[in-house]
């Protein structure tokens, strides 16, 4: 068994555990997009295990589809988190334009962090992969920063569950951005596979964190009880 297939199997084990927790505790009702993301990850993981046997150029095609799906889900999850935060704070106005402005600002800042280069001697498909991974790395971190700024500017309180999900996503997004920047600087470019493995390990780290958090009974928020005593 190679390291890649071992990582995939561990990832699927963690995903299965997380899905079981979500179903048994009925968390899927409150976080349907995140739950769908977990199902997507499990299904795409099963496909990727089979795709490992394919030649590299074919494997990369599968990987690209997987990556696009992951990132679209990630944006949808952040949107879901924003909606949940609004509901938790009993606010009706989302102020989407403010969120969009903050996202643009964050994207400009994050993209200026990196000297985006495509290493020489790469095939067109590898170039496409690198451009896409760079763009997604920026969008991921910018979207998380925009959500953080948006909630801070509006003094919104985060529910614990949503905060843990954002923590895992933020950790993964920051490591992925570092991995993409490392790729652009190293002469071997996309062939520096160990960088991708570190990125996948950060994803496993986020999954483990969620499994540990959701496996425990979530503490009740004291404020909600306290406020009923005080504000009446």
């Amino acid at each position: 068994m190679t390291l890649d297939s071992a990582i995939l199997l561990v990832g699927m084990g963690l995903l299965a555990a997380l899905l079981a927790i979500f179903v048994s505790r009925r968390i899927y009702r409150t976080l349907p997009v995140f739950f769908s993301f977990l199902i997507w990850c499990l299904c795409s993981g099963l496909v990727m295990v089979q795709a490992l046997r394919l030649p590299p150029h074919l494997y990369l095609r599968f990987f690209l589809v997987n990556m696009i799906g992951d990132d679209l889900f990630l944006l949808a999850i952040l949107f879901e988190l924003g909606r949940r935060i609004l509901r938790h704070n009993r606010k009706t106005q989302a102020r989407l334009f403010l969120a969009f402005l903050l996202f643009v600002l964050a994207a400009v800042l994050v993209s200026s962090l990196a000297n985006w280069m495509i290493p020489p001697h790469t095939t067109p498909l590898e170039k496409f992969y690198m451009v896409l991974s760079q763009a997604f790395a920026i969008v991921r971190v910018a979207a998380i920063l925009a959500l953080v700024w948006w909630s801070s500017l509006r003094s919104l309180r985060w529910p614990n569950r949503e905060l843990q999900i954002a923590t895992g996503l933020g950790f993964y997004a920051v490591v992925a951005l570092a991995a993409v920047i490392a790729h652009t600087h190293l002469s071997n470019g996309a062939k520096d596979h160990w960088i991708d493995q570190i990125q996948v390990l950060s994803y496993l780290g986020a999954l483990s964190y969620w499994v540990l958090y959701f496996a425990k009974n979530e503490p009740k928020i004291e404020n909600s009880v306290h406020k009923q005593e005080i504000f009446c």
Partner: protein
């Protein structure tokens, strides 16, 4: 190589910022009235400056007297920290009650910002020129705004969380 180090430094800063933000959110989630009131600094009170402190804006002292009674930078720093805690109390009230007067909330936010700017200016001036005329005037302005903010905070608590008022008065 320098560029790579700079880029990783910037990413580390983003990670650190997100970590600090997470810590702040967790602290905010665990807030209660008791924890907020416990953070008010009782070692100096603006009662030294006004007989109507907490109920009415304004000082019963000249800038020179006020500077003496606030024990110089000590009183300024207490005002700086208490303004921040009162702002958190106002935010806490707004998060937990629909009935909070929005105009009053915005005024409290503005008060907190002005007090802190004024205190920082006074402290910076004090660092260069000790208790000069400019320092005393800035300290007086900060103290005046502080009495106004405290009176508005009492009003907010009376309207929305009356049981907390005695603890707030005792802590201030």
């Amino acid at each position: 190589m320098i560029l790579l180090v700079l880029q990783f430094g910037a990413i580390a800063s983003v990670a650190l910022y997100l970590l600090r933000w997470r810590g702040a959110v967790r602290r905010r989630n665990a807030q209660t009235w008791d924890s907020l009131i416990a953070r008010l600094r009782p070692d100096w009170s603006a009662r030294e400056l006004s007989d109507h402190f907490l109920w009415k804006e304004g000082l019963d002292a000249s800038p020179e007297d006020a500077w003496q009674r606030m024990e110089g930078p000590k009183g300024l720093w207490v005002m700086y920290q208490n303004a921040r805690v009162m702002l958190e109390m106002a935010d806490y009230a707004s998060r937990n009650s629909e009935a909070v007067d929005r105009v009053l909330l915005e005024t409290l936010r503005s008060d907190a910002m002005q007090i802190r700017v004024c205190v920082l200016m006074a402290l910076a001036q004090y660092g260069f020129s000790k208790a000069s005329e400019g320092v005393r005037v800035n300290a007086y302005r900060a103290a005046q705004m502080y009495t106004g903010m405290a009176a508005r905070m009492t009003q907010l608590l009376q309207e929305n969380a009356a049981v907390i008022v005695p603890d707030f008065v005792a802590a201030m």
